[in-house]
């Protein structure tokens, strides 16, 4: 019995090549970092591992259960892994005032590993371990600015994470207690009489995932952390664990048959709309660039959550699209911020009158801003438009008031989000130039900025690539 379990594990490993490559790569980067002081070596190793991981990505025909149900590999997971690696490659090109120590890239790889495992985690223990892995590397990453504030941010992030993971563990123990098993596949919530304590357990457990995904009650750490950690780390932090978290959240919720357990469905709708609104409202009075985008990211997770409330067939394509376009938008806007940061523009007021000295960057920044708001000429509009159509169509079927109010809140926040994102071009164009101390950005930075911004326009005008991805997901049925 042990032998077949062992060789089952062995051939199971065959399918986990992506994660294995990441783990090996991370260790490699760490060793190189220790041996040689030259940073570009670890950078090369980092990109190498990512490329190899892409190359060895397992191609699967339909969903496979590994290690008797503790890991589930499906089409959505594969697509997301592609997205993670492709996104992570770009951070090597991000300019920063002081080059990162080699451990930085090790931690990025470990977050990547944690998130990809999170995509397929189907077992309480695995979920807990993976969430902790991603969180721990994130706590350390926030300190990598090695400034007084970044330590403080790291500390707060850690304490916050610690509390929510402790509560989550307690929730997990309750779930284990009532369902008798740890693996999601075997859990069967119907036969239980849904005792109140089990519901509490479910909520506390979901809390850990909500913490990762920064939905309302568990989002309080976001502004401080995003403000203080290095910009490329923030890019990774704001996209990869969040999307993985959402996939995991969806698996957990669909497990509890979200439509019948009506309260969880309504809770998610309420939390989602509150996240969107608070994210937007909080941003209005911000003056620090990264903090402003942080609040925007919170409200974007509200949109992502909405995509999950729709039953899987339609919901998943909308979710994937929104995720991909959200990733591109964040990539573009954070690149701009890191370029400005290197030139010494951290606050909004530093941006005023920038278009005189740097015409190209100021014109280009309009495109990601317009995308984040969701106006037509950019991909942001297709994402939001498709999301609204899905929600409206779903509302047509079940005409449930929670969905309608959620849709209306989403649409109205577009206006509020305009108000907050418009500050950046407003300061750049409509304000007189202030401190002249700011130096020019290099041409290489300009080229990259153009690539990222034009990508957003390209996706709007030629959305075929999104079609191909949608087919790939649907082919591997859930």
């Amino acid at each position: 019995m042990l032998t077949n379990q062992l060789n089952e594990i062995l051939d199971g490993l065959g399918l986990l090549t992506y994660e294995l490559v990441l783990a090996a790569g991370a260790l490699l980067v760490l060793i190189i970092g220790v041996l040689s002081k030259k940073i570009w070596l670890s950078k090369v190793a980092f990109t190498l591992t990512l490329l190899v991981s892409l190359w060895w990505m397992p191609s699967i025909s339909d969903t496979i259960q590994l290690f008797d149900g503790s890991l589930v590999l499906d089409g959505l997971g594969v697509v997301m892994k592609w997205l993670f690696s492709l996104l992570a490659i770009w951070i090597v090109f991000f300019p920063n005032s002081r080059s990162h120590p080699p451990e930085f890239y090790f931690l990025i790889l470990s977050i990547l590993l944690g998130s990809s495992l999170m995509l397929s985690a189907n077992h309480l223990l695995v979920v807990y371990l993976v969430v902790e892995l991603t969180s721990f590397s994130a706590y350390i990453l926030t300190n990598f600015n090695f400034k007084k504030q970044s330590f403080e941010a790291g500390m707060k992030y850690l304490i916050f994470g610690g509390i929510s993971s402790a509560l989550a563990l307690y929730g997990a123990s309750l779930i284990y207690g009532f369902t008798g098993t740890l693996s999601f596949g075997l859990m069967d919530f119907e036969l239980m009489a849904q005792p109140a304590l089990l519901n509490v357990g479910i909520i506390l457990f979901i809390g850990a995932i909500l913490f990762k995904v920064s939905v309302v009650p568990f989002h309080i750490w976001v502004p401080a952390t995003y403000q203080e950690s290095p910009t490329d780390a923030v890019l990774i932090l704001s996209v990869i664990p969040k999307i993985a978290g959402f996939v995991l959240l969806h698996r957990v919720i669909s497990l509890v048959q979200i439509q019948d357990t009506y309260w969880l469905y309504v809770l998610m709708a309420v939390l989602g709309s509150v996240t969107v609104v608070f994210g937007a409202l909080g941003a209005i009075r911000q003056t620090n660039l990264k903090r402003l985008i942080a609040y925007g990211a919170i409200s974007h997770s509200g949109y992502l959550l909405a995509a999950l409330l729709v039953p899987f067939e339609e919901g998943v394509t909308a979710f994937v699209w929104y995720a991909i376009i959200y990733a591109i938008m964040n990539l573009a806007i954070f690149y701009f911020i890191s370029v400005w940061e290197v030139n010494g523009r951290k606050e909004l007021s530093d941006l005023s009158g920038m278009y005189i000295s740097e015409i190209l960057l100021s014109v280009l920044v309009i495109i990601p801003i317009i995308a984040l708001i969701g106006l037509p000429p950019t991909a942001g509009f297709t994402a939001k438009f498709y999301l609204f159509t899905i929600l409206w169509n779903w509302y047509q079927e079940i005409s449930d008031v929670a969905i309608l109010s959620y849709l209306i809140v989403l649409i109205l926040t577009v206006v509020v989000s305009l108000f907050l994102y418009l500050k950046i071009p407003f300061y750049i164009f409509l304000k007189e130039a202030t401190a002249p101390k700011i130096d020019k950005s290099k041409t290489s930075q300009k080229i990259l900025a153009t690539i990222f911004s034009l990508a957003l326009l390209w996706v709007f005008l030629r959305p075929e690539i999104l079609n191909k991805i949608a087919e790939q997901i649907n082919s591997i049925n859930w």
Binding site: N393, L412, N474
Partner: protein, 537 residues
């Protein structure tokens, strides 16, 4: 007659914008002349459109009501179970959009000439100007709701920056207010667009084409299908959709409760942009009402005819009253535009032949007259950099030629017969007062009160004329005195053609109304018949 004339008209300015973008910014002359050249070509194309438009074409259904039609697939997205979303680049023109395109062709040329005075950041100005003109023409020509919406949104950005950077002292406030007002309106229209998209199409394939929406080919059981009588919060959802679109376009029109952005936007915008804003951008709101609100929801249009007519009438009277209390002449003209667009709304609300042709004629004539009025304010502003009415008086004796144009356009605007303003207003009033006997939609007293509008407009125009132009010559600052030169050649080139057009349209209105008579006839019949069929369902 070039077949894809409309695409040429839409993409020529964009192409020119690229060229202007390349020209080094210190060569101001080259930039100005290329833009002027493009705009002249645009004008010639629009005149070819006018000439090529075959007025005798009798349309049976919306499908064959359009000319110069071009359609090619643009976006096709596969949604999972929802079928495919295809948006095609579908442009065409009929009796309603053709005059508006000709109007914008003319005003765009005059706009360029009047922006000769812009000195700082010339390249940025003219690139935005070209993008704005492209999206304007696109808006009028689009026959696909998605394309219309993209152009409608596309217009906001250039206007926001044009007012925001080259405007007057409180420009940032005015530009953001303009942007947010119109964006809120466009969000309402977006909701209805999605609703329509999900409920219109043939044999299961949803589509954005306005033709199918107007012809009423709804999918069985869809939300906005008149048969389903879907109630949302107790109101028929079709009326709700009509209300949303109506409010969306009334913000743009502007009609009274939503007009407060117009005076601020005008006061702060540079002259050329005011001319364009008043001359053409307001007409997009009117055109939207014609094409989307009234053609797609005829049943709601007939049901809600009276409240809309009352709103129109309030705009006329209220706009005039508030205009009388202004002491900044640009604000006065802005409020008078609100009053004149009230006529457009009233004419449309009564859905009679006179009413609708009057409302369309009023849009074109208001385009020329208000364009000229803002040029006149621009002439004064270039000399004195001040717009207060009581800061200057007795100009008639110092600038006789300028006063001639002022008298011509003031009386044109207050509706003196023999000038184009009168024709629009009298047709609308005939429609409004006659509606009770023709289709019992709107009671007669609304038209009677609207007649009050022509008295009020006479009052504030003459009072301004007297305070600024008659009496002994006096100017607040001496420095203005030597500035007070007669209008130069550039101003002549702008004002004279508009003057001739206003007089020509006043004496021979059939020049404009004959070619589009059949389209208007078809529009009125289709609204009434389709409205009745939907109501009877």
């Amino acid at each position: 007659m070039i077949n894809n004339l409309l695409s040429l008209m839409i993409f020529l300015p964009l192409f020119a914008a690229a060229i202007v973008g390349v020209i080094p910014s210190h060569m101001k002359g080259a930039i100005r002349w290329t833009t002027l050249g493009t705009m002249l070509v645009e004008l010639i194309l629009s005149l070819m459109l006018f000439v090529g438009f075959d007025g005798s074409h009798q349309a049976e259904s919306w499908a064959d009501a359009f000319q110069f039609v071009e359609a090619l697939p643009w976006i096709s997205l596969k949604f999972g179970s929802l079928g495919a979303l295809e948006v095609n680049y579908f442009v065409g023109v009929d009796g309603i959009s053709m005059p508006l395109i000709v109007l914008s062709g003319i005003l765009l040329v005059i706009g360029v000439i009047s922006s000769w005075k812009i000195t700082e950041k010339v390249k940025g100005y003219f690139v935005l100007y070209l993008i704005l003109s492209a999206s304007l023409i696109g808006c009028f020509a689009a026959l696909d709701f998605f394309l219309f919406y993209v152009f409608f949104e596309f217009m906001l950005l250039p206007m926001f920056f044009l007012i925001g950077i080259w405007g007057g002292p409180r420009r940032s406030y005015a530009s953001v207010k303009f942007f947010l007002y119109t964006l809120f309106g466009s969000l309402l229209i977006l909701i209805v667009m999605i609703g329509l998209y999900l409920s219109v199409g043939n044999d299961g394939v949803n589509s954005f084409s306005l033709i199918q929406m107007m012809d009423g080919s709804y999918l069985p059981g869809s939300l906005l299908n008149p048969e389903t009588h879907f109630q949302l919060w107790g109101i028929n959802i079709r009326y709700l959709a009509f209300g949303l679109v109506l409010v969306g376009f009334m913000i743009k029109l502007p009609a009274v409760p939503f007009h407060t952005w117009l005076p601020d936007a005008h006061v702060e915008a540079p002259t050329a942009i005011s001319v364009l804003l008043a001359g053409v951008l307001l007409k997009v709101g009117g055109y939207g009402l014609f094409r989307i609100a009234y053609s797609i929801f005829p049943d709601a249009a007939m049901e809600l005819a009276q409240p809309v007519a009352i709103l129109g009438m309030i705009s006329i009277v209220y706009g005039g009253l508030v205009a009388m209390a202004q002491n900044d002449i640009k604000k006065l003209i802005a409020y008078s535009s609100v009053s004149h667009m009230g006529f457009v709304l009233l004419g449309l609300a009564v859905i009679t032949l006179e009413g609708i042709s009057g409302s369309l004629f009023q849009m074109v004539s208001h385009g020329f007259i208000s364009g000229a009025l803002f040029l006149i304010v621009g002439v004064l502003y270039d000399r004195t950099h001040d717009r207060q009415i009581e800061n200057v008086s007795g100009l008639a004796s110092k600038l006789p030629l300028y006063t001639f144009f002022v008298v011509l356009f003031f009386f044109g605007s207050l509706g003196l017969p023999g000038l184009s303003g009168f024709v629009g207003e009298v047709l609308v009033l005939m429609g409004a007062i006659g509606a009770e006997s023709i289709n019992q939609l709107v009671p007669r007293w609304i038209g009677m009160i609207a007649v009050l509008g022509i008295i009020i407009s006479a009052a504030y125009y003459l009072w301004t004329l007297q305070r600024m132009f008659f009496g002994t010559y006096w100017v607040r600052e001496e420095s203005w005195d030597q500035e007070m030169k007669e209008i130069n050649l550039r101003e002549w080139i702008m004002l004279a053609p508009l003057g001739i057009l206003v007089i020509l349209l006043g004496i021979f209105p059939s020049v404009l109304l004959d070619p589009i008579e059949n389209s208007i006839q078809f529009l009125v019949e289709s609204i009434i018949n389709q409205g009745k069929t939907y109501l009877s369902l």
